[in-house]
Symmetry: C2
Subunit: 164 residues, 2 copies
Amino acid sequence: MSELPHEELAEERVDEDVDPLAAALKERDEYLDALQRLKAEFDNYRKRVARDQQELVARATERLVKELLPVLDDLERALEAAAEHEEAKLEEGVRLVHRALADALAKEGVAEIPTAGTFDPHTQEALLSQPSEAEEGTVIQVLQKGYLLGDRVLRPARVVVSSG
Amino acid sequence: MSELPHEELAEERVDEDVDPLAAALKERDEYLDALQRLKAEFDNYRKRVARDQQELVARATERLVKELLPVLDDLERALEAAAEHEEAKLEEGVRLVHRALADALAKEGVAEIPTAGTFDPHTQEALLSQPSEAEEGTVIQVLQKGYLLGDRVLRPARVVVSSG
C-alpha cells in the first residue's frame, strides 16, 4: 500500500493561488481515485487471504499425515508378524511404532506432562485420593498420561494423590 | 468496509452552485478522511490475518494430535502386555492401534491407493517388471501401499508389474 497522496500534492497546491476551485477539484479527484484503488486492493487481499488460509490448513495436515504413514506401515508389518506367530518380531514392531509415533508427536511440540512430586491442578486431574506413606498432596500413581502442546494442556494427566 | 462516499454526497453537491469552492473542499476532505480510515482498517486487517493464520495452523495441528493420543495410549498398553508375555493381548492391542490410526487418517481425508487391475503411473510407481500369467501391465504385487490425501498423492503405491 503506498503512502497517502497528501505529500505528493504539496507542490501542486501552490497553484491553488492561481485557481483554487480547479486545485480543490483536482485534489478531490485524486483522493477519490486513491480511495477506489485502495478499496480494490483491499478486496483482492481479502480474497487472497481466504484462499491462503485453506491452503495453510491443508499443508499443515498434509505434513503431519505424511509423517504418520511409516507408523501405519510398521503397524501392518507387526500385524503380519502376529499372523505368523512371530511374537518377538511383533513385540519389536510395536516398540518401533511407539517410538515413531511418539517422535512424530514430539516434533509437533507435544510433550508429556510431568507427574513427579506435588499435584498440579493446572495440568493434572486427581481422580482419587488415597492414604499412603508419601507426603499429603503428592502424586502417587498415574492412571492416564497427560500431554501438552506447547503451553496448552491437550489432556490433563489423570492421577491418584496421597492423602498422607 | 463501507461504500465509497460518492453517493452520500450527491445531495450536498446541489450546493456547489452556491459555493463551488467550499463544496469541492468539503468533498476533498471527506474523500481524504475516508481514505485514511480505509488505510487504518486495512492495516488492522493485515495484522489480524497474521495472528489468525498462526492460530489456524495451531488448531489444525492440535485437532489431529488430540486424535492420536488414544493411539499412543493403546500402544503403551500393548507394550505392557508384551512385557507380561500376554501375547494374545499384545496382538489384540496392535489390531486396535492399527484401526484407531487408520480411522484418524481416514477422517483427515487419507485414502489408500487402489492397486487392483492395470498399472496407473499417476498414483503408482513400478519398482519391478516380472513375467507372470497376468496380462502385461497388470499390478501383480504391492511392495508398499500408497496413499492419497483428497486428490493429492501423499505417497505412490510401490508395485510389481506383469511383463506378460
